[in-house]
């Protein structure tokens, strides 16, 4: 079973990203959208935590949010558009949005 976790809160003011990372299953993935994309900002604590997961975590980002924030993405993060987001929701067994 695999879950796609969806996060949209800023990692600087909110604990959802940290909570989510503590509960991830080995087959799970994270989609960062909205302000959660700031977690990929270089030289931040959130980015460091995510960098440490390279190879063990499938990480996706919603394209429009990364572009709106002018974020340069590391090559191990996959950017998706809305059709891609739909495809992910089909690929993973369920979607857990951290409301």
């Amino acid at each position: 079973m695999s879950t796609l976790h969806v996060l949209s809160h800023s990692p600087y003011t909110d604990s959802r990203l940290n909570s989510c990372l503590r509960l991830l299953g080995s087959e799970d993935a994270i989609l960062l959208c909205g302000d959660a994309t700031y977690a990929l900002t270089p030289a931040t604590a959130a980015r460091q935590i995510l960098d440490a997961k390279v190879g063990s975590l499938a990480l996706f980002v919603l394209d429009e949010d990364a572009k709106a924030r002018n974020l340069t993405l590391p090559d191990w993060v996959k950017s998706v558009d809305y059709p891609g987001f739909v495809a992910l929701s089909v690929q993973y067994d369920k979607v857990n949005t951290w409301l």
Binding site: M1, T3, S19, R22, L23, G25, K94, N96, T97, L99
Partner: protein, 120 residues
């Protein structure tokens, strides 16, 4: 076979309507005899504190609704052990009986067991 739903409740009892509205989803599902589980995580474990005084805030006491869960057939109740410990809560003191306290790895497994999940 009906699909099972896990409701993850993450908000404290009186920070807004989320605690109550997560519970409402569980009670509604229980009334329809659906297979449900409820996990209290992060500030959601604050709903489980004993001896709360909702009337001080002119609010309804959520404890009664929490205790009604098993009456509505929602018996699979869980709390995150780390969330409890971080907030100074002891499992033995909680206002809900028959609640399983889980470690993080067990929560990952728990989520996998359900067909759908709502994290409020």
């Amino acid at each position: 076979m009906p699909k099972s739903l896990l409701i993850i409740s993450r908000q404290s009892p009186w920070s807004g309507p989320s605690a109550r509205e997560a519970l409402d989803i569980a009670l509604a599902g229980g009334a329809f005899d659906l297979p449900l589980g409820m996990l209290f995580l992060d500030d959601g474990v604050l709903q489980l504190m004993p001896s709360q005084n909702a009337s001080q805030l002119q609010q309804k006491d959520i404890t009664a609704n929490l205790q009604a869960l098993s009456m509505f057939g929602v018996e699979d109740l869980f709390a995150c052990g780390a969330s409890l410990a971080e907030r100074g809560l002891l499992p033995a003191e909680l206002n809900v009986e028959a609640l399983q306290v889980l470690r993080h790895q067990e929560i990952a497994t728990l989520i996998d067991r359900y067909d759908q999940v709502i994290t409020i």
